[in-house]
């Protein structure tokens, strides 16, 4: 299995994972990447930033497990998952998932699957900062329904 997981405080590059997935190989036919960003509107209309808390140890294990599940279900050549923690400003990337496969459908579906599972299983919690104060972001039922598709 070629699965890489990273949880870090520092910002990451928008192209994270791409070169790594393609390094020293030419059998990859498709790379699908998803980048999640901090929006300036969510539960409050003017979000000034957010702080992401996680459960060190369990976070990494959960992400690896989700990557392995994707590996079992689709024909993949590589998976990279990176997630930031700590303070982020609007526009900052929070998460990036990149999946390599020989044919595009596997990569598209596996990437979608990994994000759905990450959003409903990985122990991350967002606290949004807005003019009116700080508050913890509520979970969304739609995320649960999305994860049930697989």
């Amino acid at each position: 299995m070629n699965i890489g997981v990273n949880v870090q405080l520092a910002p990451f590059d928008m192209a994270y994972g791409y070169d790594d997935l393609l390094a020293e190989r030419t059998d990859v036919g498709a790379v699908v990447s998803f980048t999640g960003l901090v929006r300036d509107f969510n539960e409050s209309p003017e979000v000034t930033g957010l702080t992401l808390e996680h459960y060190p140890g369990m976070t990494e294990r959960t992400l690896e497990d989700i990557g392995e599940q994707a590996w079992q279900r689709w024909s993949l050549q590589g998976v990279r998952i990176i997630h930031r923690i700590g303070y982020m400003a609007p526009g900052d990337p929070i998460v990036r998932v990149s999946v390599a496969s020989a044919h595009r459908r596997d990569a598209f579906e596996a990437c979608d699957f990994i994000m759905d599972y990450l959003k409903t299983q990985a122990p991350f919690w967002k606290k949004e900062h807005a003019q009116q104060g700080d508050y913890w972001v509520k979970e969304r039922d739609t995320d649960q329904y999305d994860a049930l598709r697989w």
């Binding site: 999640g36 539960e43 409050s44 992401l52 808390e53 996680h54 459960y55 140890g57 369990m58 294990r61 997630h83 929070i94 998460v95 994000m115 990450l118 959003k119 409903t120 299983q121 990985a122 122990p123 991350f124 919690w125 967002k126 606290k127 003019q131 009116q132 104060g133 700080d134 508050y135 913890w136 972001v137 509520k138 979970e139």
Partner: protein, 269 residues
């Protein structure tokens, strides 16, 4: 339960109160207006262009209570014996809390008067401050209590808007809950994460295995709940649990030196 303001055909209907006993009626309503911290400061300092905001809003609220029957179609006109408005400036949450109390001796309740007084007082606050802040928000207008009348007394449970608005958290939150001393005998280490940690005011706890009737997550929850009422929140359907960093339910066994974490639904990605 029937709506007394509708007749059998479902048409609007003013209730005949002529035969009702006159009793002492009282109602308390609250609401709030949320504003920018700078606006609130100007209000406190009396530096807003339209002058004394609170005094004006108080008069507006009293006047409104007296004229409720002109605004709400099926309300009776009442001769109120008392209307009082209270304003509480809340700098921490950037808002002004408004409370209105209306009282009379009569045949019909005064909750509409109290709600109208709060609403108009909030609208007046908006009007007085809108030159400097258009983003103000009026919310959580609600009946707190009423006494007297056929339908009996009413008291709102808990604090109405605190439960519906987003959970506003302080910096780490000062803990009020007392946790027992570290145990020397076999024990379970418990962690509380994210919003749950701030709600409980606790990061972690240590529970001796001897305190647990059953050596599983359910037994741990029961042991914590015996220590303090606040830990009953752990039995919420929303609260999740992991034993040694693996998701677990109430039947999951726990043993000496296990790490058990409780946390709210995840919101990453």
């Amino acid at each position: 339960m029937q709506l007394t303001h509708l007749n059998v055909r479902g048409e609007a209907n003013m209730v005949d109160v002529g035969d009702k006993q006159a009793t002492r009626r009282e109602a308390v309503a609250t609401g709030r207006i949320v504003m920018q911290p700078q606006t609130l400061k100007l209000l406190v300092d009396g530096a807003l262009p339209k002058g004394d905001v609170i005094a004006t809003a108080r008069i507006a609220g009293i006047q409104a209570a007296k004229r409720t029957h002109e605004l709400i179609p099926l309300c009776h006109s009442l001769s109120l014996s008392k209307v009082a408005l209270d304003f509480d400036i809340d700098e921490q949450n950037g808002c002004v809390h408004v409370e209105a109390m209306c009282r009379l001796s009569g045949q019909t309740g005064v909750e509409m008067e109290a709600l109208t007084a709060v609403s108009v007082a909030c609208l007046t606050l908006y009007d007085m401050c809108k030159a400097v802040d258009k983003s103000m928000r009026i919310d959580a207008v609600q009946l707190e209590s009423k006494q007297g009348g056929k339908s009996g007394d009413y008291q709102r449970d808990g604090n109405g808007y605190e439960t519906t608005s987003p959970i506003v958290t302080g910096a780490g939150a000062a803990g009020e809950v007392r946790i027992g001393e570290r145990c020397v005998s076999p024990c379970v280490r418990v962690k509380f994460l994210a919003e749950l940690r701030e709600r409980l005011g606790e990061n972690e706890a240590t529970i001796s295995l001897d305190e647990m009737e059953s050596r599983d997550v359910g037994g741990l929850k029961a042991a914590l709940a015996r220590r303090s009422e606040v830990f009953s929140a752990l039995s919420d359907r929303r609260t999740l649990c992991a034993v040694n960093q693996v998701m677990a339910n109430d039947n999951a066994p726990v043993t000496d030196d296990d790490e058990v974490a409780f946390f709210p639904p995840v919101t990453g990605g």
